[in-house]
């Protein structure tokens, strides 16, 4: 609009940010210089200051946050899994490809956060339990029937690409995750190999050698399941 400097208009525009304290020091300086010579802007500043004070004074009711917070925790608890919602239904129905699922998990929670979740909390989910136990949330009922054979936790610096490479080389896929995403359950990509305990032990040993792997262990399977 104005190509020439117009201190009056510039000051007028800056007044709200002076009033709410978000103006920069340089803006404060330029406003102050103009205010010293412009009664109009001084009036405006005074009125806006008054208006802001009035707005803050008008609404200072006390709300008890606790009932709402408790309802919110109940709502969070009622949610089956952070991973399950927000994903297209097709990915819950077994049509997903293993890598797509892994990518979704990693993108959803951020690799850097995995390890932090691991420490400082009891690890009942990570104890040797049947994978169908409450601590694990299945990503897909179709793959859950196959069951995870290896539990994996990677370090915060492990990139998605690195994890992808790791699992690709081990011919493993993510089939489960703990509810808090602290650990992944892995299964072989080739179903025919899933019965081989030797192969599982070999894959675990190999994973433990890889940079970024904090934990790799076979998942104990109760007799008569998953075989």
């Amino acid at each position: 609009m104005n190509h020439e400097p117009n201190p009056h208009r510039e000051t007028w525009d800056l007044i709200p940010w002076i009033v709410n304290g978000t103006a920069t020091a340089a803006q404060c300086d330029s406003v102050e210089q103009h205010l010293s010579e412009c009664a109009d802007c001084r009036d405006e500043l005074a009125q806006q200051q008054q208006f802001k004070n009035g707005m803050q004074a008008a609404a200072t009711g006390a709300f008890d946050p606790q009932p709402g917070l408790q309802r919110l925790f109940a709502r969070i608890d009622a949610e089956p899994s952070v991973l399950d919602s927000g994903r297209p239904a097709s990915m819950r129905g077994g049509r997903w490809t293993p890598w797509l699922a892994a990518a979704v998990i990693v993108q959803a929670i951020g690799l850097a956060l995995l390890v932090g979740m691991m420490w400082g909390r009891p690890a009942p989910e990570v104890a040797a339990q049947p994978v169908a136990d409450a601590g694990y949330r299945t990503l897909s009922s179709a793959t859950a029937q196959r069951g995870a054979t290896i539990r994996l936790v990677v370090g915060p610096d492990t990139s998605l690409a690195a994890l992808r490479r790791l699992l690709g080389e081990a011919r493993l896929q993510i089939v489960e995750s703990t509810a808090d995403n602290a650990a992944f359950g892995l299964a072989p990509t080739d179903v025919s190999l899933s019965t081989s305990e030797d192969r599982t032990a070999h894959a675990v040993a190999w994973l433990r050698e890889q940079p970024g792997v904090l934990l790799a262990e076979p998942i104990a399977r109760p007799p008569g399941t998953g075989r």
Partner: protein, 208 residues
């Protein structure tokens, strides 16, 4: 001589504590991203009062205020790990609450004129109750003169202390739109709202 801008920058006076507050909230939010409920509760309690009073400016229904805050914090709980520090944590949460509020208000169109001050105590014990009442009546008359967008912009600026850029991001509009809304809002106030405790004549129409 005392500088005219000296005592009107409460946030400048404690810029350090403002920055510290955001640093604390960044840590809390990062912990929430890892599923930490204690951090979540602390963040909720830090933001609840201001958000509740901000939303209360738009609806007098306590149940709706609760619902909006919980919808917003439900999103915070689920999206915390995706926060990349592109704004202050408070601004990020205000933006989420703003969208939840617009949605809730669209779905719950008030059937009658609401008394927004219902149930609220007036702040401050230093000035008399009558003065406080006069001030809040004056502000309400002023806000009534404005369009919904102008009122919202002013509330984000004066009530929640958000900067021009922050308001643009919360309202998902251009920086210039924020400036234009405030410009026209203030022109309206300047020309139509009598000065507090005075009359309209006390305010000369603004020079362009």
């Amino acid at each position: 001589m005392k500088s005219i801008t000296d005592d009107r920058n409460p946030r400048n006076a404690d810029t350090a504590s403002d920055a510290d507050g955001d640093a604390v909230e960044q840590l809390l939010l990062a912990a929430v991203g890892r599923g930490d409920r204690i951090a979540f509760e602390r963040l909720y309690l830090r933001q609840h009062g201001l958000l509740a009073r901000f939303i209360a400016r738009h609806t007098a229904r306590r149940d709706l205020i609760d619902e909006i805050i919980n919808d917003a914090f439900w999103v915070v709980w689920r999206k915390a790990a995706e926060f990349r520090g592109e704004s202050k944590v408070a601004t990020w949460i205000i933006g989420i609450a703003y969208r939840c509020m617009l949605k809730a208000l669209r779905q719950n169109v008030p059937s009658a004129e609401q008394d927004l001050d219902e149930g609220f105590e007036l702040a401050g014990t230093e000035s008399s109750e009558a003065e406080q009442r006069e001030l809040s009546d004056w502000v309400r008359r002023g806000l009534d003169l404005l369009s919904p967008e102008q009122r919202m912009t002013l509330e984000l600026a004066y009530y929640l202390g958000q900067s021009c850029d922050e308001i643009a991001s919360i309202m998902n509009c251009a920086n210039g739109t924020v400036k234009a809304r405030l410009f026209h809002a203030r022109l309206r106030l300047r020309n139509s709202l009598p000065a507090l405790g005075g009359d309209v004549a006390a305010n000369a129409p603004v020079r362009k």
